[in-house]
């Protein structure tokens, strides 16, 4: 026998009653008078949620609500509620915390990179073309100006690219690699940079060409950019950021806004970690191709050092702080490969 409140259907009208169980039948009594009776199997019983009030809907639409959760679980239900059992078991809850932490960690550490790599390689090349054309149009309109390099310099770099670099990379996939020269100025300061679009267009800025001391340095950076195209890093970054945003949404879904500040920091950290891995992968690609073309990887170290001192001069210190250990590390790796190259031994990956 349990106590509870009987509500009339869709009404606040209610009275205190007791529910009595008699084998497969039940009775609801108010003040010793039978109010309702029926088969237990006809009852609709709500799922248990902690120790909140349980609602049992009767055949006539009225509902009986009670706190006697244990009695209901034991006598009225054919099978116990799995979720509640889960939530009640302390050991399982502890295991949940650990699994959740591990799972979240592995998804970010391995899951997202692996899945986005797969997706990036599945997406047809036409998508890359579309995206790249749109990007270059935008960049030309708002960021870049025409190159001021002499026709001679341009031709020299292009000829070298066609003769030396293309044979190294051409056979690998059906991507058309192409060098594009542009001038990039912020206020009165020219920016030295090189980057690749997913369709194989590699953009070199005027200041970058000026900064480089020889053709080998330019080649080493071009090969690095080819690496980005080859591994489809552009597409990977896109899928990665989409997934990160989605998963963040799931976890923060029912968070109040102040906890989201912390999560924002987290995802910033994650995405910088992803792009660091991409840089390292492209570097490695560049070193291997350089060795294949008999170019000393030390040239990559040289140009990197020049680019990063260039960065110190005018960028703010905080940005510098975050990118610096990385370029130091990259220069170190280039020197390591250069060493192998000079001793004519095969380098082990480090």
């Amino acid at each position: 026998m349990i106590e509870g409140i009987l509500y009339k259907q869709n009404s606040t009208t209610n009275q205190k009653v007791v529910l009595i169980l008699e084998e497969t039948n039940f009775l609801i009594k108010a003040n010793e008078e039978v109010n309702f009776e029926g088969l237990v199997s006809e009852l609709i019983i709500s799922n248990r949620l902690g120790n909140t009030k349980r609602v049992i809907t009767l055949k006539n639409g009225d509902s009986f609500s009670t706190f006697e959760n244990d009695f209901i679980d034991e006598h009225l239900l054919k099978k116990r509620n799995l979720l509640y059992k889960f939530e009640k078991n302390i050991l399982l809850v502890l295991v949940s915390i650990i699994i959740t932490a591990l799972f979240t960690f592995s998804i970010f550490k391995w899951g997202i990179p692996i899945v986005s790599e797969k997706i990036a390689h599945i997406i047809p090349h036409e998508a890359n073309e579309l995206i790249s054309n749109e990007s270059i149009e935008f960049l030309d309109k708002h960021i870049f100006t025409k190159t001021k390099l002499s026709k001679e310099t341009q031709k020299k770099i292009l000829t070298n690219f066609n003769k030396k670099i293309l044979p190294l990379i051409q056979n690998e996939e059906n991507i058309k690699y192409k060098i594009i020269f542009r001038n990039w100025k912020i206020k009165d300061k020219s920016i030295a940079n090189a980057f690749a679009l997913p369709n194989g267009n590699i953009i070199l800025t005027d200041e970058f060409i000026k900064l480089s001391s020889n053709q080998n340095e330019i080649d080493s950076v071009i090969l690095h950019e080819v690496g980005h195209v080859y591994f489809k890093h552009g597409m990977q970054r896109l899928t990665q950021s989409t997934f990160t945003a989605l998963i963040t949404m799931y976890i923060t879904g029912d968070l109040s806004s102040f906890a989201q500040i912390g999560v924002g920091f987290g995802s910033l950290f994650i995405s910088s970690n992803y792009s660091r891995n991409h840089e390292l992968q492209a570097d490695l690609y560049s070193f291997e191709k350089m060795i294949e073309a008999k170019i000393d990887p030390i040239h990559f170290a040289n140009i990197m050092e020049k680019l990063s001192t260039e960065e110190i001069k005018d960028s703010n210190t905080i940005k510098y702080l975050s990118s610096h250990p990385q370029s130091q590390d990259r220069v170190f790796k280039a020197k390591y490969y250069s060493n192998c190259f000079n001793q004519k031994i095969e380098c082990k990956e480090i």
């Binding site: 949620l49 120790n51 909140t52 949940s96 579309l130 989605l246 799931y250 029912d254 109040s256 110190i312």
Partner: protein
């Protein structure tokens, strides 16, 4: 006058919360709507007034389709926005246009699946009004602002510029107060409990006063915090020395790193103060607006409401909640939510001398609008 009591328990909720997250993660997000139901149901059915409780009746299945549409749209939006910013802008405009519809649908759905003492709430506002409030008014405000700034560009005079800034500020305060008043009136005056009608009578002048006071308090706390920051900076950090060292260390990266690290705690300290200012503004606004809305609203012309939140106490709860969440890497979230809800509800008073019987006449509502809005974080201001 009797307060609502909240019987939720942090430990009990913690277990529900962690199981929800686990299942959501391992089902790759599919479980999310069911998790949301369990979560909401826990809070609703632990809220009691006079031994009767609230309840949340949505089912995971109901929420699922809208949720699915929301996720697909969200992914499409993220991708398109990244690669085709121009089309992304068009999508943003489309989202802006659909917000009134999302609010209208989610209001209807949310009220319908909420019950108190076995009787459902409902919402019978019109879509047309939703468009006037959540689309036409904001658009009008933006146009006014744009034309004001446009006119200013013809003058090259510092006084005109300052005048424009002040006018913009006044315009903003007035517009926001007006918008809040219209929105609350729309949402409340069309809400029903069973066959009982909510009604409210709000004045825009009171909203403006609250906005102005909030603005004043924010400004004041900002000045105080700035003074503290500058004081700390001069007391604990030798600023001229830092700049000299930075100049000297340009060619030595490890040197700069060391200096930056030494300033880092100061940055965190300032950042924390900024968040505190933010909380102060939010808490003051919530407390005052809630107080005003509650005392001017009625159910069926006889049941009255009152909000007795204290501003300092609310700031304290928000700040300590945040600290606890950060220190426990998120594990204190359930405790923080329970604590916040308990404080809000236990200061919500209802005066019902001779409560009559209420009967609900409900019809089923689709959850599509509600869930799409949920994914895009469109939220109706809670009252």
């Amino acid at each position: 006058m009797k307060a609502i009591t909240f019987k939720g328990n942090a430990f009990e909720y913690f277990k529900i919360w962690i199981v929800n997250i686990l299942l959501t993660i391992i089902t790759l997000g599919i479980y999310y709507p069911w998790a949301k139901v369990r979560n909401n149901k826990y809070f609703y059915s632990n809220s009691f007034f006079d031994e009767n409780n609230f309840d949340y009746h949505a089912t995971g299945k109901q929420l699922f389709i809208g949720y699915l549409i929301g996720v697909v749209l969200f992914i499409a939006y993220t991708i398109i926005n990244k690669f085709f910013p121009t089309i992304g802008l068009v999508l943003f405009v489309l989202l802006f246009i659909s917000i009134p519809w999302l609010i209208y649908r989610s209001m209807r759905f949310n009220m319908n699946i909420t019950s108190f003492s076995n009787v459902r709430f409902s919402f019978d506002g019109e879509l047309k009004d939703s468009y006037i409030i959540y689309f036409a008014y904001p658009l009008l405000f933006l146009l006014l602002l744009a034309s004001l700034i446009f006119c200013t560009t013809f003058f090259d005079n510092i006084i005109v510029v300052i005048g424009t800034i002040i006018t913009t500020l006044i315009l903003y305060i007035f517009a926001f107060a007006f918008f809040s008043m219209k929105s609350t009136t729309y949402l409340l005056n069309h809400s029903k409990f069973g066959q009982g009608q909510f009604s409210t009578n709000l004045k825009v002048s009171k909203f403006i006063t609250i906005m102005l006071k909030t603005f004043g308090i924010t400004l004041l706390s900002f000045i105080v915090c700035a003074a503290i920051c500058i004081g700390v900076f001069y007391l604990f950090l030798d600023s001229s020395n830092i700049i000299n060292q930075l100049m000297a260390g340009v060619n030595d990266p490890s040197h700069i790193t060391a200096i930056m690290l030494s300033i880092l705690p100061f940055f965190f300290f300032s950042y924390f103060l900024l968040i505190l200012i933010n909380f102060t503004a939010i808490a003051y606004y919530i407390v005052k607006q809630r107080e005003y809305i509650f005392e001017n609203s009625k159910l069926d012309e006889e049941i009255q409401f009152e909000s007795k939140l204290k501003f300092t106490k609310l700031v304290f709860i928000m700040a300590t909640n945040m600290i606890a969440i950060i220190l426990t890497l998120g594990l204190a979230i359930p405790w923080a939510k329970i604590r916040y809800t308990r404080y809000m509800l236990s200061n919500t008073y209802i005066k019902a001398d001779n409560p009559k019987e209420y009967i609900s006449t409900t019809q089923k509502q689709s959850a599509i609008g509600e869930e799409i809005g949920d994914v895009f974080d469109v939220d109706v201001a809670a009252f």
